[in-house]
Amino acid sequence: MNDLSVHFEGVSKNYPHFTLNDISLELPTGTIMGLIGANGAGKSTTIRILMGLVHQDQGQVHVLGRAMPQEQAAAKLDIGFVSEDMRLYGSATLAWHMKFVRSIYAQWDQPYAEMLLQRFDLKPPQKIKGLSHGQRVKAALLLALARRPRLLVLDEPTTGLDPVARQEVLGELMAVLADEDRTILFSSHNTLDVEQISDQITFIDRGRIIASDDKEIFLDRWRRLRLVLPPEADLPSLPGVVQVGGSGRLPVLVTNRFDAAMVSACNDAGATVQAVDPMTLEEIFVANVHSRREKQTV
């Protein structure tokens, strides 16, 4: 059995105004990965290639052990996919959709579907066109979850949801993970969602993966250091500093390779370390993007 649910190797795709460049990605079974990127960074293109909806120009893609896009029909039996632009039939009811999906997928789990109806506060006789945005997202999610797919792929699942609906959705996603054989990949530009529930985090910017790691590693290694320099002194040069801000005698450093030695190196150079702040995933992402973009333009 393959313990990678998703495996990208050197995947590229060229469009006239956008290039997805040499994407390599590994998602172990039983984990949840958050794909973070600005709008237009390549998140959706990556997900479409994963689903076989867009064919890559180069590279290998395996999903649940199947080569994409060649074996997509077999792979999709076990993938649940929800995206923003997915359309349900407006004039049909939720009950009709449930019956329809059930007729296609043998694994459909009716008791689970009914439990989700309750949790998401959805009414089967309601027509899709009468639902709010949040209700539509939850309806689409219900249709995907009740099939008990081994891999869930969600493109911006929490975008536009109110805080209550957001927590309901995140809670259901975590409940899926209670089963070690299930895997989730989701994209978001809401870093708070990703920070809360992801095991693995991948940052994508301008069609490239700029970082991909365990969440705990990101949160551990990135720090913001606030220093006070003595008059006339120069900033000590330190390894792993990706950004220098602040002004004159009060510089602010951002590092992606923090350890205790860094503080003593600052002290040895005569600088006083006023504070070492942990950073949120959002701050890490923004600092990461800025430092990469600066390097590209140099």
Partner: protein, 130 residues
Amino acid sequence: MHSELVISQSDGRPMYLQIMEQIRQRIAVGDWAQGQEIPSIRQLAVTLRVSVITVKRAYLELEREGIIVTQQGKGSIVAPNPRLGTKLYDQELAKHIERIAQLGELLGLTPQDLASRVREAADRLTKEYS
């Protein structure tokens, strides 16, 4: 029981530290008894709605501290003799000794007087249990 743990997004500390601290407290106040089975990593992750890797990290560190024991495939239990207890009692003892010294000074007792009074108390306790 584990649903009592609360993770705060606005708390500046990393989530795994918050989880560790709350588990230590549960054990210190006796909510989670020695040898008692505690939620599996996945269970707790699902209940708290935080990632598996975060809870796993908290459990690994607690195990390193000797507070919980994880058996492969069997889940985790509170360590039979969690070192956390000793440490808490130790801090408590240090506080009382400090106080004894202050009171001794007030009463004009010598350190020898204090030591013998403490020895007498310890002897009485030993007799009671024998």
